[in-house]
């Protein structure tokens, strides 16, 4: 872990010809989605992963199918990379619109590389170093033939490799792996474009070159190699590692890639994934799988989660194990399908009807997506309950590198328990947690159980008894108190006590951690507490909150009618602590570190004024 007081990102500031050493760099590639900038962004991310460097990416994808303006931002370097970076050190602009929309993201002193075939920059603007390269023309010349400007992404990759002194051998290996399945032509053309970019005489232009500081490159603590993937992929393989083999879903961005991967992968593991007719059908298939004895997964994004709600209520009542992933996006309704928001918290916690408690978890980064899927499966089985994983658009598409998990150690084999149940088997015992007996298991008494959404007695018979409804409601609630008792008090990072505690959940973990570093550097006594278990909440939070004059909950949703975001409202209601306050935003973009720093500073000054 890097100290939160570590110096702010040193950016490249070069004099001509000089080779500068740097710790980390933010490169923003701006073009159109069909230019393959995601592809080279991915290469850079994986290269960083293979070089034991930290990496974090950020992309925006147009929601229109035919493509449109798109960016991919990579931050790579040594030490802890917690956010994708507020400002870019390097901007590669493929088009005039890319230049115009993204110049403001380039920091003063940054470097602009632009395609002279498409971009006319304002050369009087001396805030940046502008390097013009005929990216399109040079690519066409290098590759030749009918492929036109296809390959200019690889040309740019070559150029970047030269400027940052990247490991060309490793990069070439990545390119070959990626295109290896295709015809030889494609690999050859890709390498022609790459080599042309690498060989481009950029040093003739007034510029400097960079090298990552090898000395600080942190070999991973586990000694295991790094793997690089996005959050949806990490969730998918987390589920498989957890022994989940069955599922069902209906397509919706940004959830779809999880269901696509599961559909392709599960048959290899002897399982299957059904594309259902709609989201309520999908959760029903999944509950059917779980009822048949195979813990199953369903998922969606905002509107689709709403459609699942009636069935979720049934799963709570019938106490069926189930995993539900919700990849949050901007809402309500179709909202902003390719933007990020954390506005489904209340829906995840309280959606459906009646008193319907369930487990809600939120991963804090890509690596955590993998491990939280395993935890979700364990909790679903142990407490015979639906578990919702609240991830979001930012985590879904963000690529990060992390230590390869020790799969042999953590893999859970799928299991189907059809053992005969004793004569005194009860489907809904009042003195124990429910253990579902799937069909195929013989029951000693010869009396077979009916699982049901009607209020029921211990044997599953419908009941209208007021006393039983009270007892059964308590049974469905108390198991989560038992679960809460097993959750450790979340780690507090930073000052033991002081002026402000920053509380976050989900994908804001990285930017909040970086913001904390800056606040403490400025002399504020501050700390961070990040929640992964949103329902039930871990114990001991009230004591942590009391140690700080202010508790500011940072989240990406609306401040609502009363001035508090969804988690802030929840914590205020739960702990009745007036120091709990709120920092929210609803622009559909991830938090920038500077936004958190200034938002928190503002609130602190307002509090002392």
């Amino acid at each position: 872990m890097v100290s939160p007081n570590s110096a702010a990102t040193p950016g490249p500031q070069g004099n001509a010809g000089e080779v500068r050493t740097l710790n980390d760099v933010v490169i923003r590639l701006a073009g159109n989605s069909q230019d393959g900038i995601q592809t080279i962004g991915g290469f850079l991310a994986r290269l960083a992963g293979r070089s034991d460097q930290e990496v974090m990416t950020y992309m925006t994808i147009p929601s229109t199918i035919s493509g449109g303006p798109s960016i991919f931002q990579v931050r790579m370097g040594n030490g802890d990379i917690l956010s994708s970076g507020d400002q870019a050190d390097f901007l590669v602009a493929f088009y005039q619109h890319s230049y115009e929309s993204h110049l403001s993201s380039l920091r003063n002193g940054g470097v602009l590389i632009y395609d002279t075939d498409h971009v006319k920059p304002n050369l009087d603007d001396k805030r940046f170093t502008a390097i013009g390269v005929p990216i399109t023309g040079a690519t066409v010349e290098a590759v030749g033939g009918s492929s036109k400007d296809k390959g200019k992404n690889l040309f740019v990759l070559g150029l970047i490799a030269r400027v940052f002194n990247l490991d060309v051998e490793k990069l070439a290996a990545l390119v070959k792996e990626r295109f290896g399945g295709k015809t030889e032509d494609i690999v050859r053309n890709a390498m022609l474009a790459f080599d042309a970019g690498y060989a481009w005489p950029a040093d003739n232009i007034r510029d400097c070159f960079y090298r990552f500081d090898k000395a600080t490159a942190s070999a991973s603590a586990s000694g295991r190699p790094q793997v690089t993937m996005d959050g949806n992929t990490a969730l998918t393989y987390g589920l498989i590692t957890a022994g989940v083999r069955y599922g069902s879903g209906y397509p919706i961005t940004p959830w779809s890639t999880i269901m696509e991967m599961l559909r392709a992968e599960l048959p290899k593991y002897g399982g299957l994934f059904v594309q259902a007719e709609d989201e309520l059908g999908a959760i029903s298939y999944a509950i059917g799988f779980s009822y048949s004895g195979h813990l199953a997964i369903t998922g969606s994004s905002g509107p689709g989660l709403s459609l699942k709600m009636e069935a979720l209520g049934w799963a709570v009542m019938a106490e069926m194990p189930l995993i539900i992933i919700n990849v949050q996006r901007g809402g309500p309704s179709t909202g902003m399908p390719t933007n990020v928001e954390q506005s489904d918290l209340m829906q995840a916690l309280y959606g459906s009807h009646g008193d319907a408690p369930r487990v809600v978890l939120a991963p804090r980064n890509v690596e955590d997506c993998f491990y939280i899927a395993i935890e979700a499966a364990r909790l679903a089985r142990e407490y015979s309950t639906p578990v919702i994983i609240l991830t979001d658009m930012a985590l879904a598409s963000r690529i990060e590198a992390f230590d390869e998990p020790d799969l042999a150690k953590i893999m859970v084999p799928p299991s189907l328990d059809l053992s005969p149940r004793p004569a005194d088997f009860k489907p809904y015992p009042l003195d124990r947690i429910t253990r579902h007996a799937p069909p195929g298991s013989r029951i000693g008494s010869g009396v077979y159980p009916t699982v049901t959404g009607l209020e029921h007695d211990e044997m599953g018979h419908p009941t209208g008894s007021p006393a039983l409804h009270t007892k059964m409601t308590a049974k469905r609630r108390e198991k989560f108190k038992a679960l809460a008792a097993t959750l450790p008090v979340p780690e507090v990072f930073g000052d033991e006590s002081g002026e402000v505690l920053l509380v976050g959940w989900g994908s804001t973990f990285g930017p909040v951690r970086e913001a904390l570093g800056r606040l403490r550097q400025n002399g504020t006594r501050a700390a961070q507490l990040h929640l992964r278990h949103l329902n039930p909440l871990p114990q001991g939070l009230e004591d942590v909150f009391k140690r700080y004059r202010d508790v500011i909950v940072v989240e990406m949703n609306d401040e609502g009618l009363y001035g508090y975001g969804q988690m802030a409202s929840l914590l205020r209601a739960r702990y009745a602590n007036p120091s709990i306050r709120s920092l929210t935003k609803t622009d559909g973009l991830t938090f920038r570190v500077s936004e958190i720093v200034s938002g928190v500073t503002q609130r602190l000054t307002a509090a002392t004024a």
């Binding site: 393989y237 048959p267 593991y269 299957l272 059904v274 007719e277 029903s284 509950i287 059917g288």
Partner: protein
């Protein structure tokens, strides 16, 4: 590593005491005296006795409605799910466990209105299970509202001057949706009903039986026209025997969907028996084949090795 699907629904249990009405009976039905659903329940017991599947391999599912209370009255594994969604739930059971015999019960509102889209898609996918629709042309549980099969002119609480929306024709809908066994019966015709349920159970695919089951409370006499004891007629479908005889030429070819569609278009009360029966690969089989092909490609790698290889590619 989980074993690939074997597609072997449990064979009749010969090594045990046979299933009896007694062993299959659970709670006493809560239906109104005289409700047609009692007879459907009795025929289900009879069919199960004859089929004699291992008791623990029988699953009795339902949605919500008077008819959907069914699972409480049957001693078998089962569930009472939510209104209209019992089919995808049951399809999950069938696809998850090829050894089980899955039966689903429900009403006309449950199946054709709120669950109409699920019915179309589970039928299209030809998931192996048996679906019995107890059609009473009315919403019973919620006390007499218009159902998607209510005839034009029928007075309900939601159409006090008489319903005027075009009712659906269940047989035509089912032929169109792609169900591979489609039959129709009447709750007063016990032998016929039992036979239809048994043939449906033995069909390898999505089988559905619509049973006209009178709601004596809210639509008495609805099906008298097809009840010989009430002066009606119970015309049976004469199924083609493919024996080359001259009379066979006029019989109904159950593998012909257009003929089934025409038969379903006859005037009320129409015909009873098997409208359509076709062998088409089940989703259960196609998914099992997909798994087999995927596993062939992985050349016997264990789950752990597969996963390790995948992670190695992401280094």
């Amino acid at each position: 590593m989980s074993a690939p699907s074997t597609l072997s629904p449990a064979a009749p249990a010969t090594d045990r005491a046979p299933l009896t009405k007694k062993s299959l009976t659970a709670d006493h039905p809560t239906w109104c005296p005289g409700c047609g659903d009692f007879a459907v329940l009795a025929c289900y017991y009879r069919a199960l006795e004859k089929l004699n599947y291992p008791h623990e391999k029988i699953v009795t599912m339902a949605g919500i409605g008077c008819s959907s209370r069914f699972p409480y009255f049957v001693n078998s594994h089962g569930g009472h799910y939510i209104h209209g969604r019992s089919l995808p739930f049951s399809a999950g059971i069938s696809l998850g466990r090829d050894d089980l015999h899955v039966f689903v019960f429900g009403g006309d509102g449950d199946g054709f209105s709120i669950g109409g889209n699920h019915l179309d898609h589970v039928a299209r996918k030809n998931v192996r299970l048996t679906y019995v629709i107890m059609d009473n042309f009315v919403y019973g549980l919620t006390k007499k509202q218009t159902s998607p099969t209510s005839p034009i002119g029928f007075k309900t609480k939601t159409d006090p001057t008489g319903s005027f929306d075009q009712p659906i024709n269940p047989m035509r809908k089912l032929v169109d949706s792609g169900a591979t066994f489609i039959a129709r019966s009447h709750a007063t015709q016990v032998n016929h009903m039992t036979e239809m349920i048994m043939r449906a159970a033995q069909h390898d695919g999505f089988s559905v039986v619509e049973i006209l089951s009178e709601c004596v409370e809210f639509y008495p006499g609805a099906f008298d026209a097809a009840n010989p004891r009430k002066g009606g007629a119970f015309p049976l479908i004469d199924e083609k025997k493919h024996d080359g005889s001259p009379e066979d030429a006029n019989r109904h070819d159950t593998s012909d969907d257009l003929a089934a569609f025409r038969l379903a278009s006859e005037l009320w009360p129409g015909r009873f028996g098997v409208f359509y029966e076709k062998k088409r690969p089940t989703k259960n089989q196609l998914e099992a084949d997909l798994i087999a092909r995927a596993r062939e490609k992985t050349k016997g790698a264990s789950d752990l090795q597969l996963l390790q290889n995948t992670f190695a590619r992401m280094r």
